[in-house]
């Protein structure tokens, strides 16, 4: 019997286990997507009646509107900021910049020698 490629089997097993495993932890994909309403395809413009592009559909669709303004209490927490301590972030970034060959990502500008 010729077995399916090992990688494929592993992938299928992982997919199966991740679904059932997550479900057993109270995770449910239905719940995750419940607030998502997919648009009808093909979508037509109301006025010109021409088909809409995927970009137009994506821009109009509220799939990416994940939380409403009154649900932001946790997101506004101090420790939910990407850099809760600005001085520390600046100091660490300068240290790694001086001692490693990599430049820090996610910003523009900055200076200093970083020799020695």
């Amino acid at each position: 019997m010729s077995a399916a490629p090992r990688g494929l089997r592993a992938l299928a097993l992982a997919a199966l286990f991740s679904l059932t495993g997550c479900a057993s932890l109270g995770w449910s994909w239905d719940k995750w997507w419940s607030d998502v309403k997919l648009p009808d395809f093909p979508a037509f413009d109301e006025y010109t009646e021409s088909p809409k592009s995927y970009v137009e559909i994506a821009l109009e669709h509220d799939f990416l509107v994940r939380v409403k303004p009154w649900e932001r209490a946790v997101l506004a927490r101090h420790d939910m900021a990407f850099d809760p301590d600005e001085l520390e972030a600046a100091r660490r970034s300068h240290t790694f910049f001086s001692k490693e060959a990599t430049m820090p990502g996610g910003s523009a500008g900055g200076g200093g020698c970083g020799c020695n």
Binding site: M80, L87, G106, C113
Partner: protein
């Protein structure tokens, strides 16, 4: 009835929670997250010491200099509103550096590379000042920044502009920025060392685009791509390359162009059950000098009630070598056009472990200021063994260091 400042502050915080998308502004004024102008004055001070471990005696010449670099850093910042839609932040840094630094790599009796350190003790100070101003609208933010950094032998001036645009009811934010830095290098004792130039300059121009997305009420993800072009004198004037049998050392010669690309992904998730917040980040970096690197970091901000927090962190880093990295040139080898013995351009991996404790308290008898105090420690270890790709001969100059830091922030 008159409400206390604390109550009003709490109300403001709730209001901000309603209006703020809690997206990290890349380099925003004085605060890590908000999409409205800061509504209070905030001032911070921090003191840190950075000290490198002594070089192991097996990694340097017999009885050679083994002590390395020490830096003490003082930082202060102040941020506040000018109007409802405009805020500014000022950050100053004062650093004192001292110690010896890797000079060139030679060989021991067995032919293994060993580090030769600069004999003279270096004494230098660095002063850095940066200013950031932000203009806010309902749809986004526009920021301008400028900075000046000066050392005995170095000065740099930089400008930048960055901005953000919000979409999807502020669940999605597109950010971007452009910046430039103009640096001037005046190496000390250039008359004593023939490989040291008198005066040189370099420029760097950078740009980034980022996208962040709120995933749900507890998590947010951000991706960004950064490009930097370095041009001019990118060599290290204080480093040399040794050749076996040659009468004198060669200078450190690096290409005068460097294109750098970095991809950074950051993910934050708050877990309400355990009162903790997880910060995960990963960065892939590649440049035209042949270096590529991976960086991964995990920090957990564990809260104990409203006022106490402990945040352990672990960071892993691994890089490949620059095309022109050499420890030393063998006898009879023709010196290449570009070469450097700098350990920073060598292949290695590094692991750092850190922890930070933060305590927040209020002083009702003094304008009811909120004070955030912290103390932190970070230990950095680098070696060839920690590299993702196996390294046959690691640089003898690889560094281990410890950083201790204390700081205080006053929120008025």
């Amino acid at each position: 009835m008159r409400r206390s400042r604390r109550e009003r502050r709490r109300e403001r915080a709730t209001l901000r929670a309603l209006t703020s998308s809690a997206l990290a502004l890349l380099g925003a004024a004085g605060k890590a997250s908000a999409d409205t102008a800061i509504d209070h004055v905030e001032s911070s001070y921090s003191f840190s010491t950075y000290s490198e471990d002594n070089l192991k005696s097996s990694k340097t010449i017999p009885n050679g200099e083994r002590t390395r670099y020490e830096v003490s850093t003082q930082q202060a910042s102040i941020a506040g509103p000018i109007t409802d839609w405009l805020d500014v932040a000022l950050q100053v840094t004062h650093e004192k550096m001292s110690g010896a630094s890797p000079w060139y790599v030679t060989q021991d009796a067995a032919g293994a590379p060993i580090q030769f350190m600069s004999g003279a003790t270096i004494q230098d100070t660095r002063n850095d000042l940066s200013l950031h101003a932000n203009y806010y609208t309902d749809q986004g933010r526009l920021g301008f920044s400028g900075g000046y950094s000066t050392e005995n032998d170095y000065s740099a001036i930089n400008f930048g502009s960055d901005g953000e645009l919000h979409f999807n009811e502020k669940n999605t934010t597109l950010s971007g920025g452009l910046g430039g830095s103009f640096d001037s290098i005046n190496p000390t004792q250039a008359d004593l060392y023939p490989t040291r130039p008198d005066h040189k300059s370099k420029q760097s121009y950078s740009g980034f685009v980022g996208l962040s997305q709120v995933i749900d009420r507890r998590s947010i993800i951000q991706g960004s791509f950064t490009y930097n072009l370095g041009a001019g004198y990118l060599s290290d004037p204080y480093k040399e390359v040794y050749q076996v049998g040659a009468p004198s050392q060669y200078g450190d010669f690096r290409p005068n162009r460097r294109h750098q690309f970095s991809f950074l992904v950051r993910y934050n998730r708050h877990i309400e059950e355990t009162e903790s917040t997880i910060h995960l980040s990963y960065q892939y970096y590649i440049d035209t000098w042949g270096i590529s690197s991976h960086m991964g970091e995990l920090a957990v901000y564990q809260n104990f009630g409203d006022s106490f927090q402990i945040a352990p962190l672990i960071r892993y880093y691994s890089q490949t070598k620059a095309d022109f990295y050499v420890d030393y040139l063998r006898a009879g080898q023709t010196p290449p056009d570009n070469m450097s013995s700098d350990f920073r351009l060598s292949p290695y991996g590094a692991l750092s472990l850190g922890a930070k404790a933060e305590y927040v308290f209020h002083t009702p008898w003094l304008r009811d200021i909120e004070w955030r105090t912290h103390a932190s420690v970070e230990r950095y270890l680098s070696s060839g063994d920690l590299s993702l790709k196996s390294v046959s001969v690691p640089s003898p100059g690889l560094v281990n260091f410890t950083v201790l830091s204390v700081g205080i922030t006053a929120v008025f």
